[in-house]
């Protein structure tokens, strides 16, 4: 299975809309929640339609539109999105109204906008697109599942161009709940000091990243995705190492031949030690990067990592801010993105320069 990234667009807690800059001016945050930098939505969305869209839907539509324009594509053959938590703002709004009004007087807008597939649906409505439209909701496998489906459609020639996206938002309530159960840090830190913090829990975040994946290269191609894989609850670090090595081997690579591996360090020492172990063992010869100090932890954070990797391969640049260990001086040809969520969901995405 092969797929070329021919266009991309992202909205994140960093400046991502300016094509002339690639993470060279970085925003740092002193609260444990990294929120996206809101674009001027009116530049992208008709104000009449805008009023019914919550933040996450706006983000999805904006980043999808940027990716489509970047690829010079009018209509995709499929729209495939991944989201771990979906439209949380409208879900909370709807559920709170149910509680406050004793399950009566429910307004339609929040309900319509609260379903997980709202982003995919709104993009299709905006484009007038009646093609295959699917949303995957599998926690931290959501984006990877959407990616796998996209790659299979391209491989089976069921589509020539797929609009693929990964998107999640953080709300006040979900942030408080996840902080209380220990998923997010309690005391504030500076986001750029993510790796030095000893508290348990990650930094919370949100982002939206969309890609036009195609079965043909164009002048605008960023990179080729050569493989993706997921595995669930490995029994030991040795099993994790073996699964990663096997995945690379299937793709005719070894850990040593990778130029860069992008790891999902999220600041939680309990689970970051898994990445540290891999850095000291199978990845001991390749350069290492991380990215969640820029976007925070969320179920589809690997979509933002893919945005970074694709831009790095096209521009032959690895932004200094993501570098953790520089062991190879050459510009990257192969990049592996490895992410895991609390040692439960593990995912791999492999890219190469074209």
């Amino acid at each position: 299975m092969k797929a070329y990234i021919n266009g991309l667009g992202a909205v994140a807690p960093q400046e991502t809309l300016d094509k002339d800059h690639f993470l060279d001016q970085v925003e740092s945050y002193n609260e444990n929640r990294l929120q996206i930098i809101q674009p001027n939505y009116r530049e992208y969305i008709n104000p009449k339609v805008l009023r019914r869209m919550s933040k996450i839907v706006r983000l999805g539509v904006v980043s999808a539109k940027i990716a489509m324009e970047d690829a010079g594509l009018d209509q995709p053959d499929a729209i495939i999105t991944g989201t771990g938590m979906g439209c949380q703002v409208d879900t909370e709004k709807f559920l709170n109204a149910m509680l406050e009004n004793n399950e009566t007087l429910l307004t339609p807008t929040a309900f319509i906008q609260s379903t997980h597939n709202t982003m995919g649906a709104q993009i299709a409505l905006m484009l007038g697109n009646n093609n295959y439209n699917f949303t995957y909701v599998h926690r931290t496998f959501s984006f990877e599942s959407a990616l796998l489906d996209s790659m299979m459609m391209l491989a089976e020639n069921e589509a020539s161009n797929v609009l693929l996206g990964g998107i999640d938002e953080i709300t006040e309530e979900s942030w408080l709940i996840k902080t209380r159960i220990g998923y997010f840090k309690f005391d504030s830190i500076n986001s750029l000091n993510l790796l030095g913090d000893k508290q348990t829990g990650a930094l919370a975040g949100e982002s939206s990243a969309f890609f036009v994946l195609s079965n043909k290269k164009t002048d605008n191609t960023y990179a080729e995705i050569t493989g993706t894989s997921t595995f669930y609850k490995p029994e030991s670090i040795e099993e994790t190492q073996e699964r990663i090595s096997n995945f690379l081997s299937v793709n005719k690579l070894s850990p040593d031949s990778l130029d860069l591996v992008i790891l999902g360090y999220n600041g939680d020492p309990e689970y970051d030690q898994l990445y540290q172990n891999l850095e000291e063992t199978i990845f001991n010869l390749c350069s290492v990067a991380y990215y969640k100090h820029l976007c925070g932890e969320h179920d589809t954070a690997s979509a933002f990592a893919l945005w970074i990797a694709a831009k790095a391969l096209k521009s032959n640049t690895i932004p200094e801010i993501i570098v953790k260990e520089k062991k190879k001086q050459n510009s990257p040809k192969n990049i592996l993105i490895y992410n895991q969520f609390r040692n439960i969901n593990h995912s791999l995405i492999l890219l190469r320069q074209v």
């Binding site: 104000p47 009449k48 805008l50 009023r51 307004t107 339609p108 807008t109 319509i112």
Partner: protein, 85 residues
């Protein structure tokens, strides 16, 4: 009546998230749907809920909706009439 119309303007702007519209932009006699304020069928549902929630008025016959929600003025008249009863 004028006070009620001003109150309705604020409530409608908030409930329907009419981001670019100020209360003074709405002419009480202009149609709410179509060429006037440009509302649609989902907004109609929101307005039905607003009437019930804020004024305790239920619309018994859906056919009356077109007349009641023609303009802000007609809405205010309907509220005044039904609150008296």
């Amino acid at each position: 009546m004028e006070e009620l119309i001003e109150q309705l303007k604020v409530q409608i702007i908030e409930q329907l998230n009419l981001e670019d519209i100020e209360p003074d932009d709405i002419d009480p006699e202009d149609p709410l749907f179509g060429n006037g304020l440009g509302l649609d069928s989902i907004d109609a549902l929101e307005l039905i809920v607003l009437l019930e929630k804020e004024y305790g008025i239920k619309i018994e016959n859906p056919k009356d909706g077109q007349k009641i929600f023609f303009s802000l003025k007609s809405m205010a008249e309907f509220i005044t009439e039904n609150q008296k009863n």
